[in-house]
């Protein structure tokens, strides 16, 4: 048996393959949506997703942090007990250099840049966002294990880019 392929056989296989390809694409989409709704990764919000003093539509003036909480970067606890952290990326460091956060508590982190684009990537997690001058990236996450994690800038920002590494310290709170 060494027959060459013919039009009819191929057409049948083609249609089956086309069906499989389409089902695969749809399946992928559905699984990603499921993951999206179950919240297995920190979804970014902007534009109205947060209400920060001095920030409008997710935008702020990068030369004037004074009117915003980014003037004093770091963690703060709001009156309702929720946690928010403000991080400024600036060539070639993050402020605060070590962000201290409590373990097991949901924290909303807001990141912006004072100069060029930077990346805010926490090693070993799926926290990965762009720090853009004039814009605020916000997301909510919970650190479940105490310890120190590296925060790595993963967007080219100039000659010192590869040294732009700071940290997050996840601490157990005293009762």
């Amino acid at each position: 048996m060494n027959q060459r392929l013919d039009h009819h056989t191929l057409e049948k296989y083609e249609n089956i393959w086309f069906g499989i390809a389409t089902v695969m694409a749809l399946f992928l989409f559905v699984t990603v949506l499921a993951s999206f709704f179950s919240g297995t990764y920190p979804s970014l919000t902007g534009e109205g997703g947060h209400h920060i003093t001095g920030v409008k539509n997710g935008r702020l003036n990068p030369k004037n942090f004074a009117a915003t909480p980014f003037a004093t970067p770091g963690l703060r606890q709001n009156a309702d007990g929720t946690y928010e952290a403000f991080v400024v990326a600036r060539a070639f460091q993050f402020e605060p250099a070590v962000l201290k956060v409590p373990v097991g508590k949901p924290i909303t982190i807001h990141v912006t840049s004072a100069d060029v684009l930077h990346g805010y990537f926490i090693e070993g997690t799926n926290i990965n966002t762009t720090a853009i001058p004039g814009q605020v990236s916000s997301f909510t996450t919970t650190f479940r294990r105490p310890g120190t994690l590296n925060v790595i800038c993963n967007e080219y920002c100039g000659t010192g880019h590869h040294n732009m590494i700071n940290g997050v310290k996840v601490e157990v709170q005293e009762p």
């Binding site: 390809a21 694409a25 990603v32 990537f121 966002t129």
Partner: protein
């Protein structure tokens, strides 16, 4: 001036004869200029590559005296590597290849003065942009995201170079429309169809980049406006930036579909299906760019999700291609006496570089495509976004699927255009295999490092902190460093073959000894629209489909960009390199 051979639907197409020898010589010459300029860019770009690979192997060679004398920093070397390989090599090669193919496939005369003007303009743009790149005045990497600011000369040169490709679009589409008018009721031949569809897709795709550079970056870099909105720029960049990968890979698809069956001794499976594939790419390549911006704020998750869905859909024409071309290869192998479920593969001409280059490129693209699905999923993306995984990914897509295919094409195209002969089939074959192996090793190392958390495009071998020394990346670092050496050896072999061929004497008539390698067809599209299948008739009106493609892009990008402009926040430029 052209005569058509007797038509037979299943036979390989015969190139329409062009009787005007002076015109044909000029057409071949301009094509050769494009191709050679492309490979000169690749030559320089590729030589810088091992420096990057060694960096990811933990070895910093940028501090050695020789390199220091040539390149100011790793980031300048990386900017040159990216711009020359990904932007210059591809665009020049494609502008030559996809100007020549449709002109020959349709047997049409094109205005050679205009063709030469376009080539010269594109080259002037390239040389203009090269000055700031070489003098460390545009160390912006190939994404040149503002507000990192480069010399205005870089943006102007880049705009002229990329803009020139739109002149090729105009010339090819106009030629096709003249052919349509002269041949009413005819089905466009397959190679011309694929070429025209690719150029139409590129025209829609390039708009984002053209708008970004011409209207935002050039006025800003000249100081005419006070600032730039980085997010608007980045969004316009990725309007073009993802579709450009299809602009790089579709010419390779043309070679896989139309010519690879010939190199293998098989037949094209189905012309109507190929046409459907290209129409899907025309419609769907561009409105997917937001999947590069999952990490960016102030673009709604809804729009990102819609682009993600469209990105998954664009996998379908690639899967159809995998089916069709694999079937062509099986057909070839069985014709050569191949047997068994997988045993037939042994019967393929693996030692023939015009065959092995595109086939290994395809194998690489299967893996690259699978990785691409990961990148496009908003749930996976945060784990690998901007990590070493990404350069791992695009070195087996554009760096192998496209580049290795183009290398393989050059081995029959240069003899075809010039009448010169490949000096050594064995050396060319060794270059092809080592390129494939080198890229596989590189990709393994880089994907692995990326998963551990190593960022992309960073001089990690000179990082002051101990972060990367503490990560468990010794094995992938070793793989990446070794791959740089393998690829350097491969490049030396390939360019030796190429330059020796180019510098040798003309000995043949390329039309006879190395004709355009058209293939036989199992299911042809037919010659007349009247008797053609519904699929052929649906895909033929490319102008209307081009309009639909533009409309789709406006629908999927219009609201996003309008909102960004409404909330624009201009920021000043910085030069931190």
């Amino acid at each position: 001036m052209t005569t058509s051979p007797i038509y037979s639907p299943h036979a390989a197409r015969e190139t329409p004869v062009i009787s005007d020898a002076a015109y044909l010589a000029s057409l071949k010459k301009v094509t050769q200029y494009y191709i050679v300029t492309a490979f000169l860019a690749l030559f320089i770009g590729v030589l810088i590559g091992p420096l990057q690979a060694l960096n990811y192997g933990g070895i910093n060679v940028y501090d050695t005296p020789i390199i220091k004398g040539l390149l100011k920093s790793y980031y300048q070397g990386l900017s040159l590597h990216g711009v020359l390989n990904a932007l210059v090599f591809t665009q020049f090669f494609i502008s030559g290849f996809l100007l020549y193919l449709p002109a020959r496939d349709l047997g049409m005369r094109i205005n050679m003065k205009f063709a030469w003007f376009t080539y010269i303009l594109m080259t002037v743009g390239l040389l203009t942009a090269a000055v700031p790149l070489l003098t460390n005045n545009a160390t912006l990497l190939y994404t040149f995201y503002p507000p990192m600011e480069g010399s205005p000369v870089f943006y102007i040169g880049a705009a002229v170079m990329v803009g020139s490709s739109l002149l090729v679009v105009g010339q090819v589409v106009q030629m096709w429309m003249r052919w349509k008018r002269a041949n009413p009721g005819r089905v466009t031949p397959l190679v011309a169809f694929m070429s025209v569809a690719t150029w139409m897709m590129w025209a829609v795709a390039s708009l984002g980049l053209v708008i970004e550079v011409v209207f935002l970056l050039i006025p800003w870099s000249l100081g005419w406006v006070a600032g730039v909105d980085p997010l608007i720029s980045k969004t316009l960049f990725w309007w073009t930036g993802h579709a450009i990968v299809y602009f790089w890979v579709l010419p390779a698809y043309i070679a896989w579909y139309a010519f690879l069956p010939n190199h293998a001794g098989g037949r094209i499976v189905s012309e109507p299906l190929v046409r459907l594939t290209f129409v899907m790419f025309l419609l769907n390549s561009t409105p997917v760019g937001l999947h590069h911006q999952y990490a960016d704020p102030n673009i709604s998750a809804t729009w990102k999700t819609m682009h993600m869905f469209l990105t998954f859909l664009i996998a379908i024409p690639s899967l159809l291609t995998a089916f069709s071309v694999a079937a062509s290869l099986e057909d070839a192998a069985r014709a050569r006496g191949g047997r068994g479920l997988f045993g037939w593969m042994l019967k393929l001409p693996w030692g023939k570089p015009t065959f092995s280059a595109p086939v290994l490129a395809m194998v690489s693209f299967i893996l690259g495509g699978a990785g691409g699905i990961v990148n496009a999923s908003s749930t996976f993306a945060p784990v690998i976004h901007n990590t070493a995984w990404i350069p791992g990914h695009f070195h087996i897509t554009v760096g192998t699927a496209t580049t290795l295919t183009f290398m393989g094409i050059s081995l029959w195209l240069i003899p075809h255009l010039t009448g010169k002969r490949m000096p050594s089939v064995r050396l060319a074959s060794a270059a092809v295999w080592t390129w494939f192996i080198g890229m596989m090793v590189f990709a393994l190392g880089m994907h692995w490092e990326g998963l551990v958390g190593v960022p992309r495009r960073a001089l990690i071998s000179a990082t002051a902190q101990s972060v990367y020394r503490d990560m468990p990346i010794q094995i992938p670092q070793m793989l990446t460093a070794i791959s740089g050496v393998i690829l350097l050896v491969s490049a030396v072999m390939y360019f030796y073959v190429l330059f020796r061929m180019l510098l040798s004497k003309r000995v043949d008539d390329g039309e006879v000894t190395s004709p355009i390698p058209y293939s036989e067809v199992i299911s042809p599209a037919g010659q007349n629209l009247a008797g053609a299948s519904a699929l052929v008739r649906f895909t033929e009106p490319l102008l209307a489909l081009w309009g639909v493609a533009l409309l789709l892009v406006l629908l999927m990008y219009g609201p996003v960009i309008a909102r960004l402009f409404a909330n624009a926040e201009l920021v000043p430029g910085w030069r931190l390199y």
